[in-house]
Symmetry: C2
Subunit: 245 residues, 2 copies
Amino acid sequence: MATCACEINACVLCEDRIYSGLSKEQVCHIREHLVREMYEPHEVLFREGDEATSLFSLRSGQIKLTTSMPDGRQQILRLVVAGQLLGIETFKAQRYPFTAEALTDVVACKISHNDLRQILELNPAVSLRLIESLSQQLDQAESLIRDLGLKTSLEKVSSFLLSLIPQRGDPGAELPLRLSRREIAEMLGLTEETVSRVMADFARRKIIGSGKGYIRILDRKWLGETAGVRNDSTAAGLRVVAGHS
Amino acid sequence: MATCACEINACVLCEDRIYSGLSKEQVCHIREHLVREMYEPHEVLFREGDEATSLFSLRSGQIKLTTSMPDGRQQILRLVVAGQLLGIETFKAQRYPFTAEALTDVVACKISHNDLRQILELNPAVSLRLIESLSQQLDQAESLIRDLGLKTSLEKVSSFLLSLIPQRGDPGAELPLRLSRREIAEMLGLTEETVSRVMADFARRKIIGSGKGYIRILDRKWLGETAGVRNDSTAAGLRVVAGHS
DNA sequence: CGACACCTTGAGTTACGTCAAAATGAGTGG
DNA sequence: CCACTCATTTTGACGTAACTCAAGGTGTCG
């Protein structure tokens, strides 16, 4: 146990509990495959099109995944937060389909596809966790598709703001906002000017309070209705329930 | 064995090869969990918001997954083709986040989450296949996000048309087009009028040839450039795949 | 202090949506 | 076969949400 290269316990691949049933030697053997890496804000983990041999599990910090067109237009595909995986898309593919850039200080575990494959064959519990993580990511991606495909700028920004609310914790508290207007725009398929206008409007109407680096949700109900959300319990999924024949 | 309820061999969960290493009794035991179901065009497998207990593996046909806003706006999230899974998003969640509707005659295998969980614990190989399938779906979803977020109507339709080209087979051949203009629009975040105009324009410029129920790609290179396809990979997102039965 | 990145606001433009009407085609029944 | 309906597609004229371009404001850091 003491000889493990990766002794941390805060990411999908590192958690103790998924190794129940394995001997300490086996656990160490697995953990030896994990390489711990650190990044600074704006540091790039890899670029779209780079050859992909590994995937990451984010221990702490935040990462944005972006894709861009030849002329420079950029789209944020996902924000990766602590505990989530990153790059499983490449489990079969050879190249990263997006660029990964740290938004904050980041600690991540890196593991090669081959090593992961080995681990999965050894331990079904890890597979289950991986499948759950992937399902959640897919769900999230579909939610973004919904936002991009059929919402107005007002609705998009509302959805975005709601997604900032943590699952647990005081919903009325100040929420840290790490993304610039430009980045919010790149996430929602808008321009930074439009995002700025909408948020200024929301602030004027006391729907949100905003300061530098943070925002505060003042009228969650209104945001929910505007975003087209029916069931307001979840913040991650932004579930839309159909009422329609 | 001969007593298997599901003797077919054309979906992720049914393939022989993933059961290598298991006894015939075990394979039968697994397959007993699979329920084979058939659907007609326009038949709905389940609706957004329905309680989710099962997932499906599509044996043949095509299914569209849609989500809608309270006022009726609709977005197609994905087209499911033979061999793909459907509804793993609900592996943890309780409700389907989209409506699934058959576009053609459909044969699918249905399995409950619990049964699947049991199978996965028994057999790591099935997990691997599932993870690969999920990775591919995620990749596809991200590609659609990219199209929706940063492309113009021209670029969107180009991407879509390119996605119709089957991986194998004559690229210049007539491609069956099962989707209506409205459905293409719902996929691309456009209106049916815009799709109609763009496609009429393409036809006038001899970029495609179009007839009822099919289209023919005449200038693939131009479409690729317009869609902003990166040189070494094809657009994964709007992969529809020409149907066969 | 100046340099620089970020945000806001305004005025003018445009890509796409909306509304409306006509054209086309498939299905049905006489 | 034609006559009918009904859904889909096309085309046109017009409106508008969001983009573009431009300028000015605000905060941060060396």
